[in-house]
């Protein structure tokens, strides 16, 4: 082959490679640009502009001080969903909070497919039904939210109020010091996109996979999520085993109790019972002897680290 021909081929190959790189780079940029984050975080300076992008019949004025950041003059009906969604249906609806912004967007499509599709906004946000504009609400969303769920789900509310997640006064009748960190119904069950679980195996399967987001997130039980790593329970669950237990399979659902509580299914005395390790489909016939395995479930890594041979080998290889 002549040198000129080789040179020509080299040039063509080079051009093709560069073209390929450009196509890949362009498509990456375009794909990135199309992504719209669920929670819009924009600098504080841009908030006013963002909020006023869509508000056909609502006047929004930025009020730097006062009860709320925005004084909204409500003229829209609040009984149905449509009135609220004029503003909250806009995915750019954010409110400045410190150095960042908080999204107040409600995904209408997800809402309409949720368990509460037929519930109007004020069915849960009950204070918005009789107090408007927004600035006149109590702002105590936490207690309002509990009340909202209780109206329709009294049994679940009662169960929850008996467990460790309930806000309870101290023995000397002072407010619960951990009240702020205790979860509300929505913290576990989700908000506007809460799935229908009844006769819905797919939704049940999906909610089983949310243990880390539900229980093991930072500020809740991240430490217990991290040490949930034994062979057939935690390690298997974390790799998506459908038959491995999730947090509430052992710890219970609404009435979650500390394992030191004698009524807790994870109490040492109850581990072998039919509502704990001995649950149908788990370890039928488990007794107290079988429950001796339980410390492994959240303690395998610690137990392994304390093993004399493991410690010896560890010290040898670390030298």
């Amino acid at each position: 082959m002549s040198p000129a021909r080789i040179e020509r081929r080299t040039i063509i190959a080079g051009v093709l490679i560069i073209a390929a790189v450009l196509v890949v780079a362009m498509s990456t940029v375009i794909a990135g640009a199309e992504e719209v984050p669920a929670i819009v975080a924009v600098p504080v300076a841009n908030v006013a502009a963002t909020v006023t992008t869509v508000a056909p019949s609502v006047t929004a004025t930025n009020v730097p001080s006062g009860a709320g950041s925005y004084a909204l003059d409500f003229t829209l009906p609040t009984f149905g969903k449509s009135g609220c969604l004029v503003c909250h249906g806009d995915r750019n609806l954010v409110v400045a909070k410190g150095d960042s912004t908080k999204s107040f967007w409600v995904d209408e499509v997800a809402y309409n497919h949720s368990a509460h599709a037929t519930v109007v906004c004020t069915g849960c946000h009950i204070d918005y039904g009789y107090k408007s504009p927004h600035g006149q609400t109590t702002g105590d969303w936490r207690s309002i939210a509990k009340q909202s769920c209780k109206n329709c789900h009294p049994d679940q509310f009662r169960d929850w109020s008996l467990g460790g997640h309930a806000v309870t006064p101290t023995a000397d009748k002072k407010p619960d010091p951990k009240a702020a960190s205790k979860p509300l119904c929505g913290d576990c069950h989700g908000g506007h996109d809460m799935a229908v679980l009844k006769n819905n195996p797919e939704a049940k399967r999906q909610i089983r996979e949310t243990a880390q987001q539900m229980c093991g997130r930072e500020g809740c039980h991240a430490d217990y999520w991290a040490n949930y790593s034994d062979y057939y329970h935690g390690a298997a669950y974390k790799t998506g085993a459908q038959d491995a237990p999730t947090c509430w399979d052992c710890h219970g659902t609404h009435t979650v109790l500390k394992s030191t509580d004698r009524f807790s299914p994870t109490n040492t005395d109850n581990l072998g019972a039919a509502n704990s390790c001995g649950s149908p489909g788990c370890h039928s016939g488990a007794g107290s002897a079988y429950a001796s395995y339980a410390p492994m479930i959240h303690g395998r890594a610690k137990i392994a680290a304390e093993n004399p041979i493991a410690r010896f080998l560890d010290s040898v290889f670390k030298r």
Partner: protein, 270 residues
């Protein structure tokens, strides 16, 4: 039981790591001892009564090799999960491989005892074999240069193959006993109940506990297979490469020019 699981992990992992270090050292010692030169350079490999391993045992061996690897891999991946969403799939693969291995196992037993080429005597440990044990151990420990030749397989091979055979039966039984949720048709009992419910469960405090101990035994036996197979692979790859290649269809070992070698292998010391 908590501690037992951790102890098994630690001990077997440590033993295996030790083995992986010891095996290359053992091989390197063969260089100053002259065995490496004699085999790999001069091409003096052990002689055999049969010019080629028969086809059926070769096929069975290959099928065992693949399925035992599948069983070991899936078994360990079930105990130490690292494949996303894979436990159920791994279990099914494990069950299929288990069925194939049991079928192959029974086939090999039929071949050994009832076929026209029945070869069970090749695995039987005779008094002569027993007396050669120290000599064989001394040869592989490099304490002696003479390997006693008594039969097709030496006494350690025979012992290992017999132990392997027993372990396979035991492994199949205790693996079957782990099935707690599947009811055997006609009998109407789970394998766990059938195999453990009447003897081990009352002894250890319930069926769940009995299954847990069976799982531990299953795990121990898995490690035994891993250890034995690793040594088997090492010796196959270093002591008799021609027959190993022949087993996998690469080349064929022919009779040595000087005829069948029933005399003891003697390696001149360096």
């Amino acid at each position: 039981m908590t501690q037992v699981n951790v102890w098994l992990d630690v001990v077997f992992t440590a033993v295996y790591v030790f083995m992986l270090v010891a095996i290359p050292i053992h091989f390197l010692i063969s260089i100053p001892k002259g065995r490496f030169r004699r085999s790999f350079i001069e091409g003096h490999w052990p002689e055999h009564d049969e010019p080629h391993p028969p086809a059926l045992p070769k096929y069975i061996h290959f099928q065992h090799l693949v399925m035992m690897f599948v069983l070991g891999f899936t078994g360990l991946a079930i105990r130490f999960p690292f494949i996303d969403g894979g436990r159920t799939t791994l279990r099914y693969i494990h069950y299929v491989a288990m069925v194939v291995v049991i079928a192959t196992y029974l086939w090999r037993l039929w071949y050994a005892f009832y076929s026209s080429r029945r070869d069970w005597r090749a695995f039987a440990i005779t008094k002569k074999d027993a007396l050669s044990t120290l000599g064989v151990v001394a040869y592989y420990a490099y304490l002696s240069n003479n390997k006693p030749h008594t039969d097709k397989y030496n006494v350690l091979q025979k012992g290992t193959y017999l132990v392997f055979t027993l372990f396979m039966a035991l492994q199949a039984l205790c693996g079957f006993a782990l099935l707690e949720f599947w009811t055997i048709p006609v009998i109407g009992m789970t394998p766990a109940n059938l195999l453990l419910g009447w003897w081990l469960a009352p002894m250890v405090g319930g069926l769940a506990m009995a299954v847990a101990w069976m799982r531990i035994l299953h795990y121990v036996l898995t490690w035994m297979f891993i250890i034995i197979t690793t040594i088997h692979v090492y010796l196959s790859a270093t002591v008799d490469i021609p027959v190993t290649k022949d087993f996998f269809g690469f080349g064929s070992h022919d009779e040595a020019e000087d005829g069948h070698g029933h005399a003891a292998v003697s390696v001149p010391a360096e």
